[in-house]
């Protein structure tokens, strides 16, 4: 390209640059209006008192015994379903691969996709019909002489909620961890064996170190997934359980016990925990994907 054509093109190019920005405007505006502005509003609100003055005082509210409990409950709920879902999901994922059949693996992925998405109101009701006071399994067990509810179990408790959450946490783990399990190369095990390592030595020195970052990353997502979940908990307990998302929903529906700023602080607290999980996940995932490229 010679000099004249290049200079002749410069003006249109600049105009084109402006056009590109113009074309991006609707997208940017939508993000600003429906994602960034609400987020900023929460941050702004969390630092302002009812009278509009700036103050971090709202954050002391998070430390009040009343608010510590929902966070404790949420952490407990998320951590337990993360562990149960994570470990079972890992085992199921490996079982799908060990079966050696492509069909089984595909079916497993499909079933997991369905189960991971079958959450919220329908899931809560499905469990009521199954493990509720008059649920199918409850009655079946009663027929065997096992009285679930007599033994202290109830679906409408933290334990019950955790049981329901496990139903979508577990398949989500299968979906998240399967790529990492698939990326484990048979040659690694064989190379280890060839160098004299037994099964346990291979697991300890090779397989677990390679998989651990992916497992932790996936479990962080499970934690976040449970921590932010609202619909299932609400449908199951109609807002009785003190977990963070339900507390926030009470603020939204205009519970007079809450200051707007205090609601914002709750939201920021929740978002903060989500952010830790997400950042951790992204960091770990980067690390492993770097490892995996040959």
């Amino acid at each position: 390209m010679n000099a004249t054509t290049r200079s002749a093109q410069r003006a249109p190019t600049r105009r084109r640059g402006a056009l590109v920005w113009l074309a991006l405007l609707p997208f940017g505006l939508a993000i600003l209006l429906f994602l960034l502005l609400p987020t900023l509003s929460l941050v702004w609100g969390s630092f302002h008192l009812r009278d509009g003055s700036f103050s971090p005082a709202n954050y002391t509210f998070l430390l009040s015994p009343d608010q510590i409990r929902p966070f404790q409950n949420s952490v407990l709920l998320s951590a337990s379903t993360m562990l149960v879902g994570g470990i079972c999901g890992l085992v199921i994922g490996q079982a799908l691969l060990s079966s050696g059949s492509l069909l089984v693996r595909e079916l497993g992925v499909t079933f997991s996709s369905v189960a991971a998405n079958f959450a919220g109101v329908p899931l809560a009701f499905a469990f009521i019909a199954t493990l509720g006071v008059a649920g199918l399994v409850t009655r079946f067990l009663a027929g065997l002489g096992i009285d679930l509810y007599g033994a202290g179990f109830t679906l409408y408790s933290m334990v019950g909620l955790a049981t329901v959450y496990a139903y979508f946490q577990l398949p989500l783990m299968v979906l998240l961890i399967l790529p990492a399990l698939q990326a484990m190369r048979r040659e690694w095990r064989e190379a280890a064996e060839n160098l004299g390592a037994g099964r346990w030595y291979y697991l300890r020195r090779v397989a677990i170190p390679i998989l651990l970052p992916s497992v932790i990353a996936s479990m962080l997502l499970l934690f976040a997934n449970a921590f932010g979940a609202y619909a299932t908990a609400y449908a199951l307990t109609t807002g009785f359980l003190a977990i963070v998302p339900i507390e926030i929903s009470n603020v939204i529906s205009g519970d007079v016990n809450f200051d707007p700023g205090q609601g914002d602080v709750l939201a920021i607290g929740l978002a903060f925990i989500m952010a830790i999980c997400v950042v951790g996940q992204v960091w770990l995932q980067r690390r492993t994907s770097r490892w995996m490229q040959r």
Binding site: R185, E187, W188, E190, A191, A192, E193, N194, L195, G196, A197, G198, Y201, R205, V206, P209, I210, R290, W291, M292, Q293, R294
Partner: protein, 384 residues
């Protein structure tokens, strides 16, 4: 080190026969290559030797004791895998140290041995690097060092050089040979690169669809291939269709001419056969020179010249035997190597006559249709 014997090894996967009746013994300190087209069972044989697959029949014997039933981690064999298989979570140093750590050698000894090996393979400067931070050649060196670290009785290399580029491949090839010679490890190397096989082995095992086609030194296999398959697989080779004229006298016949050819005595009279001649064996001659029973002559037109360094390969088209009439084209293409310095004498388009010197050709039975297909399928075929 060790002497390795494979007796009657067979293995099938479903109804796919991977290896059938494989017999071989590898002497102490010998380097043997398995050479053959993709899917011919090289890897399977190697994996059976290492203990990753159980053979359907046959046995693996090391130094007189059978190891067929032993798990891989108790065979004391070192293996280098087709795609390195370095542990991605360990540095080069840790990878090399792995086998020593399994064996609970004292730390000081481990460090000394690892340093020694990193030195041997010029890896000191990448000792702390993870596999993803190393080049293909470096990863391959680490894989070799890792396999050798535990002083295996037998070293098994599965296409160790296939994933590195041409220059590194040649370097590493020499390096492997030197290292193997120094340490005297009994070694099997799998490859489908004939140049690699010829350049570094004591003996070459040519394989084809699960069976051994032939075994011999590189020089022997190159000079006197015993089968059409080997001939087609190794080196550039002209294959000229002929017919056995007299088995007793060792004569073959083509275009009304009879001439002597080694190997003809092993085939029945009247059999369709192939006369094999290497491009470098053909001698350019004056057009007037006459053919004789000892020295058959071919004539053709130079179509293409390809520069190979010291020599220039001329591809002749419209090739006929001797001085037969125009139009009597019997051979589509003939490759002739001439010194590059002399190539100017035969620019594209000129006529060239070549003689097949006594003893430089060999007759074998014409290949069956199936064999022909196997050879043409081979990637990068150098056959002319």
């Amino acid at each position: 080190m060790a002497r390795l014997e494979l007796h009657g090894i067979s293995k099938r996967f479903g109804d796919q026969v991977a290896v059938a009746g494989f017999d071989l013994s590898v002497e102490d300190g010998e380097l043997v290559t398995f050479l053959g087209p993709s899917g011919c069972g090289k890897t399977t044989t190697l994996r059976i030797t290492a203990g990753f697959e159980t053979p359907d029949t046959g046995s693996v014997v090391v130094d007189g004791s059978e190891v067929t039933g032993l798990p891989p981690n108790r065979r004391g064999m070192g293996m280098v895998f087709q795609g390195y298989a370095l542990f991605p979570n360990m540095t080069a140093r840790d990878n090399v140290e792995f086998g020593l750590a399994v064996r609970r050698r004292p730390p000081a000894e481990r460090r000394r041995r690892v340093d020694e090996l990193l030195g041997l393979f010029h890896l000191e400067h990448v000792a702390g690097h993870y596999p993803h931070q190393m080049s293909g050649g470096q990863q391959q060196r680490v894989a070799l060092a890792r396999a050798i670290a535990v002083e295996p009785s037998v070293l098994l290399l599965d296409e160790p050089l296939s994933a590195v580029d041409a220059k590194v491949r040649e370097e590493l090839r020499t390096e492997i040979r030197r290292m193997q010679g120094q340490l005297g490890i009994t070694t099997i190397l799998v490859t489908h690169d004939q140049a690699e096989a010829l350049s570094i082995s004591d003996r070459v095992v040519v394989m084809n669809s699960g069976v051994i086609e032939e075994v011999g030194t590189p020089a022997r296999i190159y000079a006197e291939p015993r089968s059409a398959f080997t001939a087609g697989f190794i080196g550039a080779m002209n294959e000229l269709p002929v017919r056995v004229a007299s088995r007793r006298e060792g004569l073959v016949e083509r275009a009304g001419r009879r001439f002597a050819a080694p190997g003809a005595t092993e085939l029945p009279d009247g059999a369709a056969a192939l006369l094999l001649v290497r491009p470098e064996s053909l001698e350019p001659i004056e057009a007037a020179a006459a053919a004789s029973e000892e020295r058959p002559v071919l004539r053709g037109r130079v179509d293409v010249q390809t520069f190979l360094g010291a020599t220039m390969r001329l591809f002749l088209g419209g090739v006929v035997w001797g001085a037969a009439a125009e139009g009597d084209h019997e051979i589509e293409q003939l490759a002739v190597d001439v010194p590059s310095s002399a190539a100017g004498r035969w620019p594209v388009g000129t006529e060239l006559s070549v003689a097949i010197p006594v003893g430089s050709s060999r007759v074998i039975a014409a290949r069956t249709a199936a064999e022909a297909a196997a050879v043409t399928r081979r990637p990068g075929s150098a056959r002319t």
